[in-house]
């Protein structure tokens, strides 16, 4: 336990000091840390072990999110793990109930009343259906139904009996939950690591012969995407906007040329001038919000507006760990980070303007260096994730699949 605690603190420090860059690396480290937390957590044998695990993960998750609130991948991954725990618990519960039902039908009589008055017997189908509905987000269907506590029913009904076969089942259920959760988490790690290949597979459907593609800054997903199309023998050109002030577009251009693609480097201000010659804009996202809005490197909003004006399709590539279940309210301020002004201006040359010691105490020259840009969903034509291509108004569906409603607030 103390070992895990020190790991958590170390990771929190790294996040706070922004030592880990890139949402994929962050997501991966977070999942691996959570896996250690789960495997080291000592789970109680009776009652709800699932909720014990959930509480442990939530506690760690809250710390991680607080360390770097702008890196949304951390929160996403924590919520994915929580969803996995809930799902595994549910499938075990339905299996247990089905098993118990076969063994002893009379046990149901002394059941707790999760639903209403005067219930002589609760069939397994009903319990399973009710438990499933607790996992899904609230919907019109379940509006009139009460909140069933049937997730606990299998445990209580199994504790009511004292036949040995039942107790043997119970301890195997204990071990099984942790085991299943760790398996699910491993699958998640695998998914995060493999997202680039999944997305790149779809490149051939979207990039056609003799096309001109525009991209901004540098994204590994975009690089893999373009190279996959090149390998399938499509010939096309790429315009790379350099992405001031970090000029990562230069690095992308170098990589593209190394793989044999015809590349043109342009300044960010030239995007509007060049957009009429472009067939498609492809960028990588930092995060995708629940309404379909995109958080991307600074400058993508300008590219999106230019694309909209000239009716050029604006395609966003995002792995599933970038899908965030939150709705952005005031994203330009709350989901943005200001980096060091030294990336823009050399302090030596401007030291007289930036002098805090002069006159009123605050200098007349201010430098603002935001990291991210928000693109509203109306400007995006298509999202390509590892599950396929979707329109912005469909993102809520993917989010409902990956996350549980109870985990939105941590």
């Amino acid at each position: 336990m103390p070992d895990v605690q020190s790991m958590v603190l170390e990771f929190v420090n790294k996040l706070r000091k922004r030592k880990i860059e890139g949402s994929q690396a962050t997501a991966r480290c977070t999942v691996e840390l959570l896996r250690s937390v789960i495997s080291h957590h000592r789970v109680p044998h009776h009652a709800n072990q699932a909720s014990a695990l959930i509480d442990a993960v939530k506690a760690v998750g809250a710390q991680l999110v607080a360390a770097n609130p702008v890196e949304l991948a951390v929160g996403n991954v924590v919520r994915r793990v929580l969803h996995i725990i809930r799902e595994e618990d549910l499938s075990l519960a339905t299996a247990a109930v089905a098993g118990l039902d076969l063994l002893d039908a009379s046990d149901d009589d002394e059941d707790v009343n999760g639903k209403g008055i005067g219930y002589p017997a609760m069939s397994a189908a009903v319990v399973a259906a009710a438990a499933r509905s607790t996992l899904r987000p609230p919907s019109l269907q379940t509006l009139l139904e009460g909140t069933p506590e049937s997730a606990t029913v299998p445990y209580t009904s199994s504790s009511g009996a004292d036949s040995e076969s039942k107790t043997a089942d119970k301890s195997s259920i204990t071990r099984k939950l942790k085991h299943d959760v760790i398996e699910g988490v491993n699958q998640l790690i695998h998914e995060i690591a493999g997202c680039h290949e999944q997305i790149a597979e779809q490149a051939i459907e979207h990039i056609h012969q003799n096309e001109v593609i525009l991209t901004l800054g540098s994204s590994r997903t975009v690089l893999e995407f373009l190279c996959a199309a090149k390998e399938k023998k499509r010939s096309f050109r790429v315009f790379v906007a350099e992405g001031a002030p970090r000029y990562q577009g230069h690095l992308l251009a170098k990589d593209l040329v190394a793989r044999g693609l015809q590349t043109t480097v342009i300044t960010d201000s030239a995007v509007f001038a060049m957009i009429s010659r472009v067939n498609m804009v492809i960028i990588g996202a930092h995060a995708v919000m629940a309404n379909g809005g995109v958080i991307g490197p600074v400058g993508v909003n300008m590219a999106a507006l230019a694309a909209k004006k000239h009716a050029v399709p604006f395609v966003v590539l995002a792995g599933s760990h970038k899908l965030c279940p939150l709705y952005p309210h005031n994203p330009e301020v709350l989901l943005n980070e200001l980096r060091s002004p030294s990336e823009l201006l050399d302090f030596g040359e401007f030291s007289d303007c930036l002098d805090f010691g002069s006159g009123s105490g605050s200098p007349l020259l201010q430098v603002v260096n935001p990291t991210f840009d928000y693109v509203p969903p109306s400007l995006v034509s298509l999202f390509i994730t590892d599950t396929g291509g979707h329109i912005p108004s469909y993102m809520y569906r993917l989010i409902a699949d990956y996350y549980s409603a109870d985990d939105l607030v941590m």
Binding site: P138, L140, L143, E145, H329, R397
Partner: protein, 388 residues
């Protein structure tokens, strides 16, 4: 009357000549006719106006003529009438009784009326009960074709009954008591829904923002009350809301909470739109496309807000989702409401009396419901899950 073509002169002639026969035909049909207002004055908007305390004299006269003094006299002692008709009287009277309470949502009143039907029913099997409920729900819908919450609430309850009676293996009496209990609980659900919506929308109201509100929705009022209680600093612009005068009522409520309020003429919305940060409206109904049906004027405000890139947020409980798909403004059952101008209008001049309009989904930004924050495209998904 529809004004699709320039042949409105012909239509006018046709309307004048066809005025007399339908009235005669109505009186010869079943005793339900007195309950159907021949002038299609919307009972739903009538009740809303009653809640707001705005009742004009000629409105009252028309209402009385339509109801014709049936209210309290017939139902207990109409033993000569058939059993079916007695139920008919009961359900509508029950519904009207519940509906008059100003704080009760329309759908809750409908479900309580259906609960009364269950209580009064003498059915001995689930199938019989379901058929009775269906008949009662059809009667209610026929009584007021313009109220979307009523239709949606009835459908939701009937759907719940049908679905769960197939699932549960229980005897009839416990099923009946469960349905009654659920129906009673629905009132709580509705209250809780308003609180959930208020909680969800808190993050979207930031300090120093200006909110434009149209109409007097109890849900929007709850949102603003919660924000004021959380010590958020914001100010509200409310439209006058003719003919119901919702602006003055809303400003009364808000000044009690010490929220700075400014009243606008309905026509001053575009003038003030640049200082507005967001628009909040309620909804009488949410249709399948994700658009909303709300008090007249909402479409106008949404258009202006959209053209100036201001977000339009709709606060609506989930039981207002209805299976309607209006293609244009006139595609719904007409809901008319007499308007008082204060001066005499010449006889030949027509007045646009529709009480509501339809706002298409592309002008709405987000819907705050008790199912969560939704974008307009999620509505049809929810409806499909319920009905298919």
């Amino acid at each position: 009357m529809w004004r699709r073509s320039a042949s409105f002169i012909l239509d006018d002639e046709r309307r004048r000549t066809s005025d007399s026969p339908p009235m005669a035909a109505d009186n010869t049909t079943t005793a339900r006719a007195p309950f159907q207002n021949p002038d299609a004055i919307s009972a739903y908007y009538q009740t809303r106006a009653a809640h707001h305390g705005v009742i004009t004299s000629d409105w009252l006269a028309q209402a009385q003529a339509a109801v014709g003094g049936v209210s309290g006299e017939e139902h207990p002692d109409s033993s000569a009438a058939e059993l079916g008709k007695e139920k008919t009287f009961n359900v509508i009277e029950e519904f009207n009784g519940w509906r008059k309470q100003p704080d009760l949502a329309e759908a809750v009143a409908a479900i309580r009326a259906l609960a009364a039907v269950i209580r009064a029913s003498e059915a001995s099997t689930m199938m019989e009960l379901e058929i009775e409920l269906k008949k009662a729900s059809d009667t209610l819908k026929l009584w007021d074709k313009t109220s979307i919450s009523l239709t949606a609430g009835c459908d939701l309850f009937i759907r719940y009954v049908t679905r769960t009676s197939a699932l549960e293996y229980e005897d009839f009496n416990s099923a009946k008591s469960r349905l009654l209990e659920r129906a009673e609980k629905f009132g709580e659900i509705s209250c809780k829904a308003r609180k959930i919506i208020a909680m969800l929308s808190q993050d979207f109201i930031f300090d120093g923002c200006t909110i434009l509100v149209h109409g007097l929705s109890r849900v929007v009022l709850e949102i603003l009350k919660t924000a004021a209680q959380n010590n958020k600093l914001f100010r509200v612009l409310c439209t006058e809301g003719r003919p119901d005068g919702t602006g003055v009522l809303l400003s009364n409520e808000l000044s009690k909470l010490d929220v700075p309020v400014k009243l606008l003429l309905d026509s001053a919305v575009a003038y003030s739109m640049d200082e507005v940060d967001m628009v909040f409206v309620g909804a009488d109904g949410v249709v399948e496309s994700g658009g909303i049906i709300n008090m007249m004027g909402t479409y106008q405000i949404a258009l202006v807000a959209h053209s100036m890139n201001k977000p339009v947020y709709v606060a609506a409980e989930s039981y207002k989702f209805a299976r309607l798909y209006p293609l244009d403004q006139k595609d719904m059952a007409p809901a008319l409401r007499p308007i008082e101008f204060g001066v005499k209008i010449p006889a030949k001049v027509e007045v646009e009396m529709s009480a509501r309009d339809y706002t298409p989904p592309q002008y709405l930004t987000l819907l705050f419901t008790d199912l969560g924050v939704l974008s307009p495209s999620v509505v049809s998904d929810e409806l499909i899950q319920l009905y298919l």
